[in-house]
């Protein structure tokens, strides 16, 4: 009796101790998770606050004009002063010099980011949606769909520098030697398309129109590299979105006599908001991509309507200039560009989440 009673109470205390330990573990886990969540939010908030504070001098100097000015000149200019009539100002037999302070405007890089990202989508979306449909509807599940999905996802893990090197040594020369001359000989003579291959530049006060030198390191090359880099993310999310389409939806359409093409189309229509979300996430990735783009886009802070002219994105501008930006205003202007990029990406991401989330809720409701 004695033995059994002691063993019972022993057992009980061990159990309660274990329970206490478990409660403690629960609490610790809960608090750990909570504080991790808060920490992530704090990190984002501090990122915004720090960037905004650092961008303040630039904002004060240029105001909203920062977004509409195309002038990006980090150096001071010392030049002969001219009066309103455009004549040199001469006092006491000497030309009066004026010092023009540095000026910063983000329009060319905002333009470069938007155009390169949208062009990248134009190239990447058909490819990604095609691949996603193939993975979901065509490929035999085990033999092809599995390995192919893995490969597509693996593309996302390749460092962006590797894409850049490939772009610089393979893609750019290919564009320069083969693709662009071919496009020029085909499209160049077409009336109304001359702007693709000619540019108007102001040279020392004179406006000159000349052929754009085809270098292969231009907006087109940058967009193509971006397209390749965002195919994995768009494909992977589109595949998941398409998988979430209820079977009844597809079977129903086939029962109605739809052809394979028609049932695929109805599947795409059904999940259109989710697919739009996938595309938006691709867009956000394209807008923020830095290293590879810097290597192939030509890095010229100018707006040119032609995809064969060198360009610059917000991210490539930062990659190029941040290390040696010694003046406060230059640094601040760069950080303001970073802030604009952050806010833009944030909005695209929110929109994307909203679209993807909406489609999944839609799919769940249909079940």
């Amino acid at each position: 009796m004695d033995d059994s009673s002691t063993s019972l109470s022993d057992d009980g205390s061990r159990r309660s101790r274990r329970r206490r330990l478990l409660t403690f573990a629960d609490g610790a886990l809960l608090w750990g998770a909570r504080s991790s969540g808060v920490l992530v939010l704090l990190m984002l908030a501090s990122l915004v606050v720090v960037l905004a504070a650092a961008a303040w001098p630039s904002f004060r100097a240029f105001g909203p004009g920062f977004l509409t000015s195309s002038e990006w000149r980090p150096n001071e200019l010392e030049r002969p002063m001219r009066n309103e009539a455009g004549q040199l100002v001469i006092e006491d037999g000497e030309t009066v010099m004026e010092v023009v302070p540095p000026e910063f405007g983000a329009l060319p890089v905002v333009y470069g980011t938007l155009v390169s990202s949208v062009l990248a989508l134009v190239f990447a979306v058909p490819l990604s949606l095609g691949a996603a449909v193939f993975l979901v509807r065509v490929a035999p599940k085990w033999r092809i769909a599995g390995p192919l999905s893995f490969l597509v996802e693996f593309l996302a893990a390749i460092p962006s520098l590797a894409y850049g090197v490939w772009g610089l040594f393979v893609l750019a020369p290919l564009l320069q030697d083969r693709v662009e001359p071919l496009l020029r000989s085909v499209l160049g003579p077409v009336p109304g398309l001359g702007w693709l291959f000619r540019e108007t530049v102001e040279v020392g006060g004179q406006v000159v129109t000349r052929d754009i030198p085809l270098t292969g390191r231009d907006m087109l090359c940058g967009s193509l590299i971006l397209a390749i880099m965002i195919v994995p993310i768009i494909t992977a999310i589109s595949r998941d979105v398409l998988k979430a389409v209820p079977r009844v939806q597809i079977e129903g359409s086939i029962a109605m006599g739809a052809t394979w093409w028609q049932s695929t189309w109805s599947m795409l229509r059904y999940s259109r908001s989710g697919l739009a979300g996938a595309i938006m996430l691709g867009l956000a990735r394209a807008a923020g991509e830095t290293m590879a783009v810097t290597m192939v886009i030509g890095n010229n802070n100018r707006i040119s309507p032609s995809p064969f002219a060198p360009a610059q994105t917000m991210a490539s501008l930062l990659a190029n200039e941040f290390a040696e930006a010694s003046s406060t205003l230059h640094r601040s202007a760069l950080l303001q560009v970073a802030l604009i990029l952050l806010v833009m990406s944030l909005f695209i991401n929110i929109l994307a989440r909203w679209l993807v989330g909406g489609s999944q809720a839609h799919a769940a409701a249909a079940h």
Partner: protein, 348 residues
């Protein structure tokens, strides 16, 4: 618990005893990327004879180096451009030593596969190419300084550094002395707004742009061009001679500036120097530190810093020449030695 503490204490003790006897002196430097390969080599050579001194130079860019020395987070900074007034004031004007350590040059590289001869350039021609006023290789002005060379009728695509750099600083400053129009429209600085052409990040970016585009011209550092066997042209100097950049012609450019170097803060622009053999697009690269060396924790650190810098401008110069960095001319070296003597350790 007791059982745990004892071995832990032992481990700590033994760790301490390993660290204790070799009282290593650690020096931290940061700054310019241009001399980085040379500085790394200097550090490893210096450490062969001074094994207790550990030196770490990080090539974060001249701007970053100046920021670091101003905030006293490093012992010395490397910079491709001498300190400007604002930077000097921030550092404390009377408490700075700035010395040139070697000289570099910027060369015009180009891509003309069918031209075997080295092309001659003048400052005015380069300025007008970069401003877009000369757009073809067979332009009369290029032909004039290249008699006998069959120049193709091909568009010139200028390539430039898209990142801020001392290379751009030297190149634009030289062009500004050659063309008033260039000075007034593009100007000079570590980074300027180029009206046309394509930008490459780093020497490698410009070199890739030049090598990848037939008819391109780009400015790159001499030692990068030599190390990568990139062909480049000669440039007309102040004396009217066409000079190809080499260690000798760059050192000669530095020699002309020796007279203007005075005091502790040595600075001289050595582009466009007189002298028949002086290459015109040259510049010094500098090391900067506090005159009272109060970035050092103790006298040992301060002594190690001065030892290292003295070694750099003496034995280090031979190493520099083998790596295609132009050594200091003896007249310049004498001024640097005087400047080094003005520094001494004063504890905080």
């Amino acid at each position: 618990m007791k059982n745990l503490v004892a071995p832990l204490a032992l481990t700590l003790l033994s760790a301490a005893s390993i660290a204790a006897p070799s009282a290593d002196v650690r020096l931290q430097g940061a700054g310019a990327t241009f001399p980085n390969p040379l500085y790394q080599r200097w550090v490893s050579e210096f450490q062969k004879t001074n094994p207790t001194v550990k030196i770490d130079y990080q090539s974060i860019g001249s701007g970053g180096g100046i920021k670091a020395i101003t905030e006293k987070t490093v012992h010395f900074a490397g910079s491709d451009a001498p300190l400007n007034k604002k930077e000097l004031t921030a550092l404390g004007e009377t408490n700075v030593v700035q010395i040139p350590t070697c000289a570099g040059a910027v060369v015009p590289a180009y891509n003309l596969p069918d031209v075997k001869e080295a092309i001659n350039f003048t400052g005015e021609i380069l300025a007008d190419i970069y401003a877009g006023k000369i757009s073809k290789w067979n332009d009369a002005r290029i032909a004039e300084v290249n008699p006998g060379v069959k120049l193709p009728e091909m568009a010139i695509t200028p390539a430039w550094r898209s990142d801020g750099s001392g290379t751009t600083y030297v190149f634009t400053n030289f062009l500004a002395t050659q063309s008033e129009a260039f000075k007034g429209s593009i100007g000079a600085g570590k980074q300027v707004q180029w009206p046309m052409g394509q930008g490459g990040k780093g020497n490698e970016g410009v070199a890739a742009a030049v090598q990848g585009t037939t008819g391109a011209v780009g400015y790159i550092e001499l030692n990068y061009a030599l190390a990568n066997k990139i062909s480049f042209g000669a440039v007309r100097n102040k004396a009217g001679k066409f000079i190809k950049a080499s260690n000798e012609s760059v050192s000669a450019a530095g020699a002309g500036a020796a007279a203007s170097l005075q005091g502790s803060v040595l600075a001289a622009n050595i582009w466009n120097q007189p002298g028949d053999n002086a290459y015109p697009i040259a510049s010094f690269t500098y090391m900067i530190f506090h005159k009272d060396i109060n970035t050092a924790k103790n006298a040992d650190e301060a002594k190690a810093l001065l030892d290292f810098l003295t070694w750099c401008i003496n034995d280090g110069q031979k190493v520099a020449a083998t790596m295609d960095y132009a050594p200091l001319d003896p007249a310049v070296k004498a001024k640097v030695e005087e400047a080094l003597k003005t520094a001494s350790f004063k504890a905080k």
